[in-house]
Amino acid sequence: MPLFANAALTIEITGGVEGGLPIAVVPFDTSRLSSKLPIDIAEIIASDLNRSGVLKSMERARLPANPHYSNQVQYARWRTAGQDYLVVGRVLEKSSGLYTIEFQLLDVLKQKQLVGRSMPAKKRNLRSRAHQISDFIYEQITGTRGAFNTRIAFVRAQKDAARKYILQVADTDGFNAQNVLESDEPIMSPSWSPDGKSLAYVSFENERPEIFIQHLATARRSKVSGFRGLNSAPSWSPDGKFLALVLSKDGSPDIYTLNTATKRLKRLTTHRSIDTEPVWASDGRTIIFTSDRAGSPQLYRIDVGGGKPKRVTFEGRYNTAPSLSPDGKFIAMVHGERGQYKIAQFERETGNLTVLTDSTLDESPSFSPNGKMVLYASTRGNNGFLYAVSIDGRAKHKLSDQAGDIREPVWGPFESK
């Protein structure tokens, strides 16, 4: 079983949640349960909401009261405590290990319920249920779908005497990490299938880079690309039928598309420069990629039918690793300037470039499926850590633990509703 299964990642808010809407999440009533729950639901919700930067949850020690039902709430006390929103809830036990979670989101000023739900839960999906409640609350308040109940994938490298690379998936707060693949040779470039059920990745297990697809639930996998030279940077088309990838079998690294059913390969770029990091636009008709054809790496776009690539970025001498926002209007990327590599957001219509991070070795940006956060890796000292930053750059948090060097995070899709 996974070496790091359920290894806890600690979360550290590193950038301002000041200005977030004040919300109090009261510990849920668990007094009627036959045994203690393995998790603290209210704490998970409060932590989720805090990380968004849009909401700021009240410290538990400062809560003025401990209500579990809306009819126990004295709204004036919460108003005095400066809270706009209040979440109360309880966990009931139907039979051993089978629960019902009930919660209510209350508007303190209007003194009324905004949303209330009752949901079944099992011991093993309690954490996922808590993230789902965060999604309900976030959507009710902001009007934007929450992305807390999604998964992230990343590569963890152990640099001890026995070098090891582990491809993992985890909850968006970093908890509940599970191993997908463990290898003595490098693993790179995880990419989520649009249905969230499979990962494509590059593994060096045969001492050269080859692309594999692995179904997560069954762990069944197959090699989809093992040509001479480079097989790298797989990226799924929005309909899940194609992979864009990078091969150097015909000379220099070029962008290809592969029909995963028919195995038909189509070459999109032919320039003798480096072409890599293809990502699909959500309409599936264009691909954004990195090329150094103009002398330094910049982003380009090309029609999936072929044609001449058009340059997208012009500012600075190093723009790589594109991640497209779900609406296609923004590109998160690595922007290098004066020897420092930071995560920047590029607005395609205006050409505006906003630098979101302030470290020097940041890489692998990946948009959340609701387009509100960007997950990335940052090297500090000898290790890489995962961070997420809100697209306004205001809220930033770190997901980390002590076990190894973490890199190449990718944020998975929404679960189908």
Partner: protein
């Protein structure tokens, strides 16, 4: 000056594979040469300099030992003995590069010409060219850069007469640094192609 010299001997299913990795040259010597860097991406650039570099002067005439360094005690050396030498161009098995570049320096081309002649003259030898990059920037771009670097080296070896079947390129990008740390010294040591020999 760090000397990197490792030898592994494997016995696999009836044949002996000897892999020798050695480097007796510091990166400073490799990248601060006064010669103009050659565009390793340009076939003609390599070709022109490959010939003018004097393959006869520096090259080895394969197993026959056309070069003085290939003779020990008057007897011709076989490929394994030549690879076990700790000095000379053949012992030089790491080629270094500038940042974001796959261009070979003229010194590197000279070293590779010696390797190319040796490989061409020893059909039992095969070489794995492992391209690497420093940690800066994106991992995908860096693995592509490592591929370009390995290809630059491959082109010189092919021009000297090595056959396609003897050469394998693989890029590790920034995944396998030889020196950790975020310093120019570490970065310059990590931007490299390693020549890893196998004698069948």
């Amino acid at each position: 000056m760090k000397l990197y010299n490792a030898m592994k001997i494997w016995m696999i299913a009836g044949f002996v594979a000897v892999v020798v990795t050695a480097c007796a040259t510091t990166q400073e010597e490799m990248i601060s040469g006064d010669g103009e860097p050659i565009d390793g991406q340009s076939q003609t650039g390599v070709v022109d300099d490959g010939t003018s570099g004097g393959a006869d002067a520096t090259g080895l005439d394969g197993a026959d030992g056309g070069d003085g360094t290939a003779i020990m005690d008057g007897a011709p050396m076989d490929a394994i003995e030549m690879l076990e030498q700790t000095e000379g161009a053949l012992a030089n098995r790491i080629i270094y590069f500038e940042f974001d570049s796959a261009k070979l320096s003229s010194e590197s081309i000279q070293v590779l010409e010696t390797h190319g002649n040796f490989i061409a003259g020893n059909g039992e030898v095969s070489v794995r060219l492992e391209g690497h990059a420093d940690e800066r920037g994106s991992r995908e771009y860096n693995i592509a850069l490592g591929d370009r670097r390995a290809q630059s080296v491959r082109r010189v070896l092919l021009f000297q007469g090595a056959s396609v079947d003897q050469l394998e390129t693989v890029s590790y990008g920034e995944e396998q640094p030889v020196m950790s740390g975020h310093t120019e010294e570490a970065w310059s040591k990590n931007r490299r192609v390693e020549l890893i020999y196998t004698v069948n």
